[in-house]
Symmetry: C2
Subunit: 468 residues, 2 copies
């Protein structure tokens, strides 16, 4: 022992960095290895994980689920009324994220519900709408329970038009509402007259024109369009500039032939051309369709949804049915528009993390170096995020390529086990809403899916498989 200390020490320090720093301060050399206990020290999750790692039943289930995800072929088929959504009946409003009751909803979601009630004509003014919402006479259910997704508050009411995305490989549909553009918008909780007028215009002018154009085209294959957008600087969550322009390009000729009066047509083109986020909702429905194809494989730990209601973050897992695993929604670390700060921000909100669940958005940031001007960080950070997500996923996309990473596919197919094992929380690019209803977007940034959701899912999967 004495001889050991006499020699020059080479220290390998695993875990807490302070020990290595102390040695360095004393003039010694220590190599620091980043390590944290699985499940951040959650003993139940760690024990469950130990039983689930390399379990053949789970590996086989994940292979099956991941193959179904890769095989999905979402096609933008047309436009429908939200009344056609499976299970949407009567006075029901759909919202983003896991289930939540009126009283606990965040400001933007309550504001959007007031707006939707006014838009539907169920109440005469905002006070009456608020009273109706609180009375229990309106049912609130997650959009995800009705094959749909919506950004931010994600409110979908029966009269709203929805995009119909059909996964032709599995004959299954997913839906999303129409993007209203930036500024005052229902999805941020605004419900003023101009917001309601725009929703009515979308319902009566834009949606029929888009529906007619899509009918004449027979649909638009979305994977090639999204893959092309990735080579054009989009990650198809927070940046949809290319995808929106490509969608307009695909629709233009058909819109001209199929649409009604020239005046309306000019408005339609101006609206689509003026909204770089126009494609976001289509992207979300496409991702939902791809992930629904992978849902319901018994034993699979593949994450098929990540969604936030502004209070809780929830995930769903292929082998765990309709259950949500939730944790408090995180704050978003980002850049704020002039005049706003983190103190004004709502918590993480919206179904749009379905894009990250499908290996896009934050997972595909390497495709979108320019997005760092919007969400913060450097282009190197963007590449680093895309690389790090390979540690929590089952594989790479066969179609979505990252030019900056020599055309490697995006990391996709989040494995709840790997998140728990590595402690690496899935990264999410997102907009930031003001905490008060109706102010709108005040910034954009990065956030992470809470580890606790994945730890619960791992415990539940272990329980379902009969605990070893």
């Amino acid at each position: 022992m004495a001889r050991l200390v006499e020699r020059k020490l080479g220290v390998l320090n695993v875990g807490l960095a302070q020990f290595a720093e102390a040695i360095a301060t004393a003039g010694g050399a220590a190599l620091q290895v980043d390590w944290a206990p699985p499940a951040a020290g959650d003993r139940d999750a760690a024990m469950a994980l130990a039983r689930l790692v390399n379990a053949p039943a789970i590996e086989n289930a994940n292979r099956k689920a991941f193959e179904a995800f890769l095989a999905a072929s979402p096609v933008l088929r047309g436009v429908a009324s939200a009344r056609e959504l499976p299970g949407l009946t009567g006075r029901m409003l759909l919202h983003a994220g896991p289930p939540i009751e009126w009283a606990r909803m965040c400001g933007p979601m309550q504001g959007a519900i007031v707006g939707a009630i006014l838009y539907e004509g169920w109440a005469k003014n905002a006070d009456a709408a608020r009273a109706l919402a609180a009375s229990g006479a309106v049912r609130f259910e997650p959009a995800h329970h009705h094959a749909a997704v919506g950004p931010m508050a994600g409110i979908i009411s029966p009269s709203m038009p929805v995009w119909v995305v059909e996964d032709t490989a599995h004959a299954r549909r997913a839906y999303s509402n129409f993007n209203e553009g930036l500024g005052k918008a229902l999805r941020f909780g605004a419900y003023g007259a101009e917001v309601l007028a725009r929703l009515k215009w979308i319902e009566t002018v834009l949606a029929p024109a888009a529906g007619a154009a899509l009918a004449s085209l027979g649909g638009i294959e979305l994977k090639p369009l999204m893959a092309q957008a990735l080579t054009m600087g989009d990650e198809v969550h927070n940046r949809n500039a290319a995808a929106s322009a490509l969608l307009l390009r695909r629709l233009a000729g058909a819109l001209v032939r199929a649409a009604p009066a020239p005046a309306a047509l000019g408005e339609v083109f101006d609206f689509i051309a003026g909204n770089e986020h126009f494609f976001l909702n289509v992207s979300m429905a496409a991702c939902k369709a791809m992930l629904d194809a992978a849902h319901g494989v018994p034993g699979s730990s593949l994450v098929t949804a990540m969604a936030r209601n502004g209070v809780e973050f929830g995930i769903r897992v292929s082998g765990l049915g309709e259950r949500w695993f939730t944790a408090p929604a995180a704050a978003v670390d980002g850049l704020y528009f002039a005049g706003y700060s983190a103190a004004d921000a709502a918590r993480d909100l919206g179904d749009s993390a379905i894009t990250e669940t499908a290996g896009l958005g934050g997972f595909a940031m390497a495709a979108a170096p320019a997005i760092v001007k919007f969400v913060g960080g450097s282009p190197e950070d963007a590449i680093e995020n895309s690389l790090r997500m390979r540690q929590v996923t089952l594989g790479e996309s066969s179609v979505f390529q990252l030019p900056a990473l020599d055309f490697r596919g995006t990391a996709c197919g989040i494995d709840a086990r790997r998140v728990v094992d590595t402690g690496i929380e899935p990264v999410i690019n997102t907009g930031i809403a003001h905490r008060a209803p109706g102010v709108g977007q005040i910034g954009a940034g990065l956030t992470r899916a809470p580890l606790a959701c994945f730890a619960q899912a791992v415990v539940a999967l272990d329980a379902q498989l009969g605990r070893g």
Copy 2:
């Protein structure tokens, strides 16, 4: 000396690598320094260069020329008939590159001239057109002599419509013809019935619609649009997918309101939407406008045009008036479409190297990693090309940024002295035409502006300044 050889030798080898390799083969260590004599050993150019380096008159002239280049503000103002081009009169056809007579022209250029003669109705058939061209009854002049540029053969005839780009900072105009799309096209020397019919449709349907739309918009600022395209994977020479979609997006509403019958409108949208190179000619005219703003500054060694006629590569220099400095056009190193090889290729052709002259195209490849699938190489090569061009340029663009290089501006303002000094030839992304008229594009790749052009320019500038 004996003691020197006894010791371990550390060899620094400058220039020819073989000496270093010999030492390495013998088991020694040698550090190789890349170096070549200025002007690749051209003694006259090297002597001229020695007198021109750091000459205050040239530095001042270059500063002035470069500032004018940066200050240029090209606006897509409208559409005109080529008859309105300055100096285009009677039976004159404009072509790409430096001056060349009919007999020496390459296949694609002769084919395009036959097509233009038929399109103008100056001859009844191809044989008669060829005879007319050879007779001397048609004048051939570089488009560059008439404030215009054209891709590949670059033929512009009096009846063709041209884009009007106005540099509002200097009240000066530049022009280009309309892009016909891929496949059989006049610019590749095709002159079949479908080519002529498409030219007539461009003249009678597309151009009036685009002109009316631009008139109602009052014009489109091109620098912001091109800068945005650089954040979307374009380098606005060989890749214009984003810029074309952005231009369509800007025009769409105005086209609907300004244009004629719905049937024609559908054709217009389909044509623009179906051609990812639609913006190329607009990009070229914008670059021409920026560079013309820098032309004519006495003493300036700034390169204001690089252009190829398929036989010769020519450059023009700000301080050297209307003179061209030429060398044989190079072959293009690239990827060929299925069924074609280098044996089928025409030499470097077209005015489109005006984009590289303005710091775009090959100089901005770092913005367009996906282009390597088209021109060859890896995304790393693309970044390397953009970095290397900083060694031959006067500065960086104030508006055109490269996200992958942490938003540094593109290298721009080619200094003929620096090209000669470093021996680094400006890189050019380009399409490859079949050597026979009418076959069309058979590939794309990289080529370089020949050093000899720059060496001649340096000698001429030295002579003009009175030789030291």
